[in-house]
Symmetry: D2
Subunit: 260 residues, 4 copies
Amino acid sequence: SGQFFLLSGPCAIEGEDMALRIAEHIVKVTDKLKIPYVFKGSFKKANRSRVDSFMGIGDEKALKILRKVSETFEVPTITDIHEVSDATMAAEYVDVLQIPAFLVRQTDLVVAAAHTGKVVNLKKGQFMSPESMKHAVAKVTDSGNEQVIITDRGTMFGYQDMIVDFRGVPTMKQYAPVVLDVTHSLQQPNQSSGVTGGRPALIGTMARAGIAAGVDGLFMETHFDPANAKSDGANMLPLDKLEKLLTDLTKLRSTINSLD
Amino acid sequence: SGQFFLLSGPCAIEGEDMALRIAEHIVKVTDKLKIPYVFKGSFKKANRSRVDSFMGIGDEKALKILRKVSETFEVPTITDIHEVSDATMAAEYVDVLQIPAFLVRQTDLVVAAAHTGKVVNLKKGQFMSPESMKHAVAKVTDSGNEQVIITDRGTMFGYQDMIVDFRGVPTMKQYAPVVLDVTHSLQQPNQSSGVTGGRPALIGTMARAGIAAGVDGLFMETHFDPANAKSDGANMLPLDKLEKLLTDLTKLRSTINSLD
Amino acid sequence: SGQFFLLSGPCAIEGEDMALRIAEHIVKVTDKLKIPYVFKGSFKKANRSRVDSFMGIGDEKALKILRKVSETFEVPTITDIHEVSDATMAAEYVDVLQIPAFLVRQTDLVVAAAHTGKVVNLKKGQFMSPESMKHAVAKVTDSGNEQVIITDRGTMFGYQDMIVDFRGVPTMKQYAPVVLDVTHSLQQPNQSSGVTGGRPALIGTMARAGIAAGVDGLFMETHFDPANAKSDGANMLPLDKLEKLLTDLTKLRSTINSLD
Amino acid sequence: SGQFFLLSGPCAIEGEDMALRIAEHIVKVTDKLKIPYVFKGSFKKANRSRVDSFMGIGDEKALKILRKVSETFEVPTITDIHEVSDATMAAEYVDVLQIPAFLVRQTDLVVAAAHTGKVVNLKKGQFMSPESMKHAVAKVTDSGNEQVIITDRGTMFGYQDMIVDFRGVPTMKQYAPVVLDVTHSLQQPNQSSGVTGGRPALIGTMARAGIAAGVDGLFMETHFDPANAKSDGANMLPLDKLEKLLTDLTKLRSTINSLD
């Protein structure tokens, strides 16, 4: 239909109630707007800055909640994996396996994800060029899996800032469908506190620019109470702002589609 | 009317015929699309990479051509200045004085431009943050001139590349109207040849992202024969592609205006 | 004694003969110069740019060669690990476990390495600030292991270049002994070929600057035939240039020691 | 003799007493250490972040103080120029004309400096690659002046930080003698206050790394009371620390000279 798709949900699966509550809201909004939707939730936070950061409620417990979300609302789900052994485990519960940006150069991990036959979402490393994602995509397709997407979550700019290079959208669309990870791209890493910062006031600006630049999908983390989320609270979208944002983006997409 | 405005023309005034020919074409297109238009042309190229690069046809000769364009088509004009003494000289011929990005920290130059009473267009230095443009704008307004605009032409990213930080648009709009310099932002400087490169295939992507991010105006250099232009041929828009591009951007702007 | 220490060897263990040949040469040189030496070799190359790049001769086979080098020349050895399960496996064969730069944010991996009781060498991520390594070091020491070192292998600068920030040396020495990875810091990643480039002619310059800036150790990959090495041939030091280089650096270190 | 040379003095000429007092101290130290010395002082601060920053005591007044320093202590002097007309004016008073980093692409200014016959010190733009300085040097030599030196004052790294790329030293030495501007390279620009910050605690580390990397000269701003200096107080070396620092660097240089 030419509509963009949406990967969205909380950063981490903190429990069943919060996952269902967030999913229910997003499903309602995306159904209304006819936006293809995939529920996102991490079963484990494996790469936090500090050793005392929240890492999860238990792998299997969280994966079962992802399955429950999927069954309850009839939506596909996505989660990120960090070791080869995660691939087959997570593939039993979700529809899309995501390779985190820091890990996208790990050949074994990418190939293991590809071999599950699930869709593979490769996050562009903060240290990689758009052009270099061609080789990452090839690790999936050369493993016999053509279902691969690329998500851009920004590129390092100095030590404590990230920037989105929109020139990369047309480049990476040559290799696979391209998603803009709006909320993570607004992070500000390496803060002295050991807690990553963010600029959530810019979510609308970045999402609009992404749609205008031609992305196929958007990735946005959301929570009904970002300030009390167990991770990434600094850059998530408050859940109650989602509908207005997506409504606007749908209109923008429609105009963009009419131009080409 | 909520329409964006356009600063456009050739990089350098190479002669009267080419200036009039380019202006005529752009005036026709922008009249049709109701886009407020300012004709742009440099009377001198003062900061070329190499000493043997083209620097101009003569200052006064070029400035007179700018005035002729203005009188012929009843459009305002803009040119860039490089020394304090250029300010009063250029102000006799044009409506907008532009401070080049490399020179935007030169207090004397900015203040001299401000004192002419003309509109001052401050290019954001490739080495400056959006936030730091607040101080550059203040150099104009503290000199008693409230007519100031900011143009973003990209930020250094490594030695041989530039990137546009669209987060800067809402930031800089707090200080002054913001223009995206689409064509220069696609430059790739510091090439070993001593001639700056570019990626003109991305002009449409960048212009769309700029409009979506909320810029007030666009800056685009154009030429009927970029390959034979005397400067910046690597990134100018071919003149015959301007109408389709602006038509698309006008539609996009209309949608963006409807959202807020 | 105030001497710097050296981590050196081939990028990958390509076979027993080459490993012993390289170790023998370096041991002879470092014995002569009284430089504490640790033999380095990867048992697996897990994060190559392309799926068709060389990844190793077999994990256990390579680890046994590392043990043989250790027993033959009575030197400690270091290798890099990529998954939690690698930690205990590799710890049976080597003395120092290295966390690759891309993986230094993976808490599980760092903690698993710490729990082996071996020395842990944390490579600073190309996307991390010197200050942020404080939290990475804490993941080791909070796990009850005080034997941790930090190795700087450069920081991303644009898409295709890396730069060493020598300001980071005094900063990181507050957290742990600091090593400069001379050869990897001269890499040029994200080349269009999918093969990382390098600037080996600058090895001497960088090593000297590192010693002058106060590093505790140096990391340098070397091979008797870089052009035919199975990985990182673009930036390794030819083995026959090692003695002259280390002799010079020893003199420099002696002067530096005399200043403080 | 193989000794490095020194460009040093206050950031700005604030008055005759302070200039003579600083010069006297440095001359005494450099005479003792046999370091060729050039007194540095700006007669005007033309590119401050804010319009209300100190800009100078008057051009001619400051230039006369530079001449007085030169005559009193029999040392050459250096000052920076910002417009073409400054070149001949300043050339009457000083021995070396410096082109500021922001202005090094201004062909007219560089050529005007070259035509005075004075030594020209080109500061590498914070936005320029080492390789691109080849073209800047050619603007001087093609104007018939072979007396040109290059000074590196760091390169932009993100918006609020600078980094020195020591790989550039051997590169730029192919074009001209290379100086490391130690104190400015430790600046942190674009701070929200509109006042550039700095990290003076790292002066020793950077100067040592520079000597080790093979620079021909050092540039260091100094003041007997940095906290009360009228500009750049955030990164100047306190004058009473100069002798120890230069003594150490002389020993280091001697060792470096012995290696090649």
